[in-house]
């Protein structure tokens, strides 16, 4: 049987090193990418995956080493040059232009599209590329408001239109629903069959097993192993990724159910969700499961007053309360940690300290209305220790931290509001195995301290392992609440996908 390696590699990465101040981000890394393979790259955050992508796309320049394209050394000065060499990347959060329509987004970087924009031809070409990908999208739709999956498709279409040879996919599935992931995989396989070399970065082991031809593992900026999928096992991957560290994957929730904190009755928001009913108790984790588009986040946002519900009751203690703004929610002991830390969760250019104190800034004022930075710093220092945030200093801009540590800063920020109920929206999305386990431990500690936690997560094993009870939603409807004992992966998925699916299961 011919192996992938019989062909000539399209891109060779040779002994590349890159250093930032005191951290060696990449240390003598070599990797060959062959045409027509899906090559998975795994490793914890900080393993050097992002740095490698940025070097491949010309955002960073290596201190040492070189890249060979078809055996010829190339110098990639910037992303424009990378595209010219046929190297393109798509990211977890798609980089589209919201004010341009689908077709414009696909062809925006094209140089050879004539002197004038031929709109009719552009729409036709865009339609034919999308048809080739078997995707239905109105090419005249502005990208604003499209689903993440649709936006990603635009980016893939763009790469194809540029005759991509090496396509880097940086955690492309992190925010997709199961159905969308399947579509993306089909797309990826068809790209591979057309001879594209795909470098696929993911934290999800199942996905790597499903799609990769070969798997490479990085740790602490070093290449550890490259194996064909057949020789690759879960144990091997974890061993290679974490080294000698023994990590517990999922911490079990140990909190004991205490008094009733919140009851939600008949919560409605027109065209978004309807008739939502649940209770939250002290010391328990209530999971919100569902596919993307199930409107779990919208319920969270309603409880936090960002997008208040139209009708229904939120009973806190004994009184029905109206929550019309996040300020009111905070005042009543409800905090919400967003899934979107980059856009709205954190202010990336501000320090750890300022981010943590931001919602509670009023408490850090002196008698004369000035911010007392020493007290702010004391709080930041306290959370840095408590949640073991790894940072050179609490004055570090959060944008410089790794994803897992940013997540902990965001947690600190909301814990510092001293909530009774904490809503966590995808708290472990896009962070590595180690940081994920840490977040789970933190959730455990918090419930032990008496917090009620609502956990919104698309990660099925996570929600199964962490929740005491699981509420399943589907397209804005509540499909049921299951206790830990009742809940199995099949039951949750059946509820999340609706009745039709259970018919199929039966047949």
């Amino acid at each position: 049987m011919p192996s992938i390696e019989d062909k000539a590699p399209v891109l060779q990465i040779r002994h590349i090193s890159k250093r930032f101040d005191t951290t060696q981000a990449l240390d003598d890394v070599s990797l060959d990418l062959f045409p027509g393979e899906i090559h998975a790259l795994m490793g914890e955050n900080g393993a050097g995956k992002s740095t490698l992508i940025k070097i491949m796309t010309g955002v960073y320049h290596p201190d040492e080493g070189e890249m060979l394209l078809d055996g010829e050394p190339i110098h990639v000065g910037n992303s424009v040059e990378a595209q010219a060499y046929g190297i393109a990347a798509i990211y977890q959060e798609p980089m589209v232009y919201p004010d341009l329509n689908v077709a414009e987004n696909i062809f925006i970087t094209h140089r050879t599209h004539g002197l004038l924009v031929n709109w009719r031809k552009m729409y036709k070409d865009a339609e034919s590329i999308l048809a080739k990908l078997d995707v239905k999208l109105d090419v005249r739709m502005p990208a604003r408001g499209l689903t993440l999956a649709a936006q990603q498709t635009i980016e893939i279409a763009k790469a194809i239109s540029l005759n991509v040879r090496v396509l880097i996919m940086d955690e492309p599935t992190a925010s997709l629903s199961a159905h969308e992931v399947e579509q993306l995989f089909e797309l990826t396989r068809s790209l591979r069959d057309q001879g594209v070399s795909v470098l696929f970065i993911s934290h999800r082991m199942e996905e790597v097993f499903e799609i990769a031809d070969r798997v490479t593992i990085f740790r602490d900026g070093r290449w550890i192993s490259t194996l064909p999928r057949k020789e690759f096992t879960r144990e091997r991957a974890i061993h290679d990724m974490v080294g000698r560290k023994i990590e517990e994957f999922f911490a079990k929730s140990a909190g004991e159910r205490g008094e009733l904190l919140m009851s939600v009755r008949g919560l409605n928001k027109e065209n978004v969700f309807a008739d939502i009913n649940f209770d939250v108790y002290r010391g328990e984790v209530l999971g919100f499961a569902g596919l993307v588009g199930s409107r779990r986040t919208d319920v969270g946002l309603a409880l936090f007053g960002v997008e208040p519900a139209d009708s229904g009751e939120i009973i806190l203690g004994k009184r029905a309360e109206k929550i019309r703004s996040p300020e009111e929610a905070l005042g009543k002991g409800i905090a919400y940690m967003t899934e979107d830390r980059r856009q709205i969760g954190l202010t990336m250019t501000m320090s750890l300290t300022s981010n943590i104190s931001l919602p509670m800034l009023r408490q850090y004022l002196s008698r004369f209305g000035l911010v007392q930075t020493q007290r702010e710093e004391a709080t930041a220092e306290q959370y840095r220790e408590r949640l073991s945030i790894r940072t050179p200093s609490i004055q570090q801009p959060v944008g410089m931290l790794s994803g897992g540590n940013q997540q902990k800063v965001m947690l600190s920020k909301w814990l510092n509001t001293r909530p009774k109920i904490l809503i966590l929206d995808e708290p472990t999305r896009g962070i590595d195995v180690g940081a994920k386990a840490e977040v789970h431990h933190i959730i455990n500690d918090l419930t032990a301290q008496g917090l009620g936690i609502i956990l919104i997560s698309s990660d099925m094993p996570e929600i199964m392992a962490m929740s005491d009870r699981i509420m399943v939603m589907r397209e804005g409807r509540q499909m049921g609440i299951f206790t830990r004992e009742e809940a199995t992966q099949e039951i949750i998925l059946t509820a999340a996908m609706g009745q039709n699916e259970s018919v199929e299961e039966a047949a």
């Binding site: 232009y97 004010d99 970087t109 094209h110 109105d138 499209l146």
Partner: protein, 355 residues
């Protein structure tokens, strides 16, 4: 029906329509209030002024689309008008086209400096052009000799150009300044609609980060936007000289504010990525029409004209933010509907397999 409407009709176009409606309303209102309002004189005044503002607003719009500002345009108009006027006073034999090229060249040079500092020096545009606004204006003060250009010292062709009637429609004549403004408007409306460069301006303003990572030559595109903006301001300076003749160093002082107001009222977003030339033109027309009309309307004193204008701008922008965003939501919900329809289709397909 609604779907077709949504496909070819954008909320932004509604704003342009409503501006046209408002302009007509203003016109009719003041026509009933001021005697002789529909006279050719007022028509000429307004159209000439609008032409100058609109030409500057066209350049400014290009810059605004990239999520940047150019506050120095007023100074560029002033300095080119004064310098060209002074040169024409000193060298009356200068060929008209040379004078025009001198004006545009000066504008290009100043735009280039702005662009280099902002696109390559990475200085925030607001700060950079705040600086050059002062510097360009001060350069005028350093000009040797008396700081005044008088109409009578200018060559005959300049005066002629200001009075000339290119063609007349009924009692109303179109002057060269107005025609120049219209030509520029048409050219740049085509540029943003049909040149790849135009689309990239929108892209950069719409998502600068994506532009940087996604392989658009952002710096180059922004630099060119500033150069064009400077060139347009230079051209407007020439028009300014032709229109007014008597010039001092304070000519076109504060014009940048009028220009940005025109663009914003016309729907050009200061967050970049959205806006049209027709919008900017309508914005300029509306603001100027109001200004000229209020000055002639004896009911309120001159003193309040600016305050009233400011208030109207605020109202326009606020209404806009509320209504246009609401409409955008309605428009974009369609994308979500499509998705759920697709999902339903998948479910249906599966069902049929089972059956």
């Amino acid at each position: 029906m609604m779907e077709q409407l949504k496909r070819y009709f954008r909320p932004e176009q509604l704003r342009e329509l409503s501006l046209v409606f408002l302009i007509v309303l203003i016109f009719l209102f003041f026509g009933s209030q001021i005697q002789g309002y529909f006279s050719p004189r007022i028509f000429n005044r307004v159209t000439s002024d609008v032409a100058i503002i609109a030409v500057v607003a066209i350049g400014e719009t290009l810059v605004l689309l990239t999520r940047n500002y150019d506050l120095s345009v007023g100074s560029i108009v002033g300095i080119t008008a004064f310098t060209v006027g002074k040169q024409l006073t000193n060298y009356p034999d200068m060929i008209p086209i040379v004078a025009l090229l001198l004006a545009i060249g000066l504008g290009v040079a100043m735009g280039l400096l702005n662009g280099l500092v902002i696109a390559y020096g990475r200085v925030p545009s607001l700060v950079a052009t705040l600086g050059t606004m002062a510097i360009y204006r001060s350069a005028l003060v350093a000009y040797p000799g008396n700081k005044i250009v008088v109409t009578n010292d200018l060559p005959e062709w300049v005066l002629e150009l200001g009075r000339m009637q290119l063609f007349t429609i009924g009692e109303f004549n179109i002057r060269p300044v107005v025609a120049g403004g219209l030509v520029m408007f048409i050219i740049f409306q085509l540029v943003i609609a049909y040149l790849p460069y135009g689309r990239r301006l929108y892209a950069i303003g719409s998502n600068p980060e994506a532009a940087r990572i996604g392989g658009l030559p952002s710096s180059q595109i922004v630099l060119v936007a500033y150069i064009i903006c400077g060139a347009m301001a230079g051209l407007a300076g020439f028009m300014f000289m032709v229109r007014y003749g008597d010039l001092t160093v304070t000519g076109a002082l504060g014009m940048e504010m009028q220009v940005i107001a025109a663009a914003v009222v016309g729907g050009v977003s200061t967050n970049g990525g959205s806006g049209t030339m027709i919008g900017a033109l309508l914005g300029a027309l509306m603001i100027n029409l109001l200004q000229q009309s209020l000055l002639r309307w004896l009911v309120i004193s001159d003193f309040w004209v600016n305050a009233l204008l400011g208030l109207l701008i605020l109202i326009a922008v606020t209404i806009d933010a509320v209504i246009i965003n609401r409409l955008r939501d309605i428009w974009t919900q369609r994308g979500l509907e499509i998705k759920s329809v697709e999902e339903k289709k998948v479910v249906k397909e599966r069902e049929s397999h089972v059956a």
